[in-house]
Subunit: 163 residues, 2 copies
DNA sequence: AATAATTGTTAGCCAAGGCTAAACTGTTTG
DNA sequence: CAAACAGTTTAGCCTTGGCTAACAATTATT
């Protein structure tokens, strides 16, 4: 392997270890960053479905596959397949041709997702981002925001709410 | 279809249209949100590769498949396959068994990605997020932040830099 | 009650992005 | 210079998450 970080008298060597400019991070750390993103990726869609199902139940009283397909902009077949997965993962219960319910665990996940989503959304709005853009960005960002950052965002919201 | 937004005397009807609480957005808008995320998804990985290749070239003088695999935490076979894709997309040029180069377009993409990445990272740090966390979050968030939000983040950084 | 319309499921296809194992190339070194 | 080693590629497999088309069940309409 040629990436051992000690052998090269390069930019990295001549700047403080706070990475002020933008040297490459050490390999281990870098790898972990990408890994975190890949992992988030795997759960992202699941969380989106569960969150949406939760929202539909809360706002419409029930979650039906057609509504999900409609809102996700995806075919019913795709939704049907996904629901089978959610079932296997123990996140929803469903009888064929009936509407869906979240399991305990599913509810927990929906709750967490929704909270995260809301914090990110409110944060963006508090920052001054236009509503429509904020919604779009929040949808994409929510799965990549750590608890630490979330806490800070919440603090920011609180500070800017007392206007 | 059962999702027509007018027929239900529901929560949405009884609150201001600024969606203050958290009613479901209108179907069309909601669909567009998910679509945007799905699209981002497709380009995300590509951008990460291109950005990393650019960084490797800048900091080490060259980008070799082994380094990429190493930093991404992925097998060399995966990288090799990906490079073929990048080639087809006209983002890199490569001769077998030699190191990689970015095309004009690839350089442009790397540049844009890097800029975005940096803004998000600096923004998070300016917000008060711990360095390590900021790096991880930035890696995930960068592909989901609109230009509008990016501009606002940049403004925020500028305001908080003059300490 | 019979039929039409809507909704849900299944089967089978595709591309992307992982992997391992095996083959091949280039470089280093004994 | 030949062998060993490091780096690269290829082949072939797997899972996910899309799709369409065909079929099945439920619900609505006449």
């Amino acid at each position: 392997m040629s990436d051992n970080d000690q052998s090269l008298p390069n930019a990295a060597a001549s700047m403080s270890n706070s990475n002020c400019g933008d040297a490459l991070p050490p390999v281990g750390q870098h790898t972990r960053q990408y890994e975190t993103v890949r992992n988030a990726h795997e759960t992202e869609l699941i969380e989106d479905y569960v969150e949406l199902i939760g929202d539909l139940i809360r706002h419409r009283g029930e979650a039906r596959a057609a509504d999900i397909a409609n809102r996700m902009g995806v075919s019913q077949a795709t939704v049907s397949k996904m629901i089978r997965r959610l079932n296997e993962l123990g996140l929803v219960t469903s009888k064929p041709y009936r509407s869906l319910f979240l399991t305990e665990e599913g509810q927990k996940m929906a709750e967490i997702s929704r909270t995260r989503h809301d914090i990110v959304l409110h944060f963006l709005r508090a920052l001054g981002v236009n509503d429509n853009t904020a919604r779009i960005d929040a949808e994409g960002m929510e799965h990549h925001v750590s608890d630490e950052t979330l806490t800070i965002m919440q603090r920011f919201i609180d500070q800017h709410a007392k206007r």
